[in-house]
């Protein structure tokens, strides 16, 4: 059994005691912190959650966005 798990292709069988069990997935709480650039706008943060993936969009402050100056 150990060798099969090492190759990632385990054999799933019914055990006599009815207690076949394998745990690889993480459970519990988690936390991750990221440092953002100074020019982000903390009031303009959007978050969405889809298919187990969290998307966070953080906007930068208007003043530091590149602007094109039109020549009159």
């Amino acid at each position: 059994m150990g060798a099969a798990w090492a190759t990632g292709c385990p054999t799933i069988t019914v055990s006599e005691g009815g207690s076949y069990y394998r745990k690889e997935r993480f459970d519990g709480t988690f936390r991750r912190t990221l440092t953002l650039p100074e020019d982000v706008d903390p009031d303009k943060v959007d978050a969405s959650y889809k298919d187990g993936v969290l998307h966070i969009t953080v906007q930068r402050r208007e003043v530091v966005k590149p602007r094109q100056i039109k020549i009159k």
């Binding site: 385990p10 799933i12 019914v14 993480f26 298919d51 187990g52 993936v53």
Partner: protein
């Protein structure tokens, strides 16, 4: 504006290379057994239902999926933890399992399969007749 960092990449142990040279990820799984079923749960975040592929061929169960990570076209990654978007893993199923009655569900990136045991491997209660 600070200097743009090189793209950092960490390849978790679950990333494998197939014989065809394609990089895939093994989804991490929990497997447990009760009186009537084996339940397999696999972490496949980012995979929508229409990109999931579950197949049984004789005694081999294969699960595969493609994670759809919607990065806007005009954006470039500064940091990437996982660059592989293809999940793939196979399992051998014991003959005590009924592969024709597998049920699958997908919610929040978690795939759940219920694989029933064949009738003769389920516990039976024997009724006692009173005379």
């Amino acid at each position: 504006m600070t200097e743009r960092k090189e793209i950092e990449q960490q390849e978790p142990k679950a990333v494998q290379q197939t014989q065809q040279g394609e990089h895939i990820m093994w989804p991490q799984v929990d497997i447990c057994e009760d009186a009537t079923d084996i339940t397999l749960q696999a972490d496949m975040p980012g995979v929508p239902k229409d990109r999931l592929d579950i197949q049984v061929d004789k005694d081999t169960l294969s699960i595969a999926g493609e994670a759809c990570l919607d990065t806007p076209d005009d954006m470039e990654a500064l940091h990437v933890d996982i660059s592989v978007t293809r999940y793939q893993r196979s399992f051998s199923l014991g003959g005590e399992l009924d592969t024709t009655k597998i049920e699958a569900g997908l919610k929040d990136g978690l795939l759940t399969l219920h694989i029933p045991k064949r009738e003769e491997h389920k516990p039976r209660k024997i009724e006692v007749r009173t005379g």
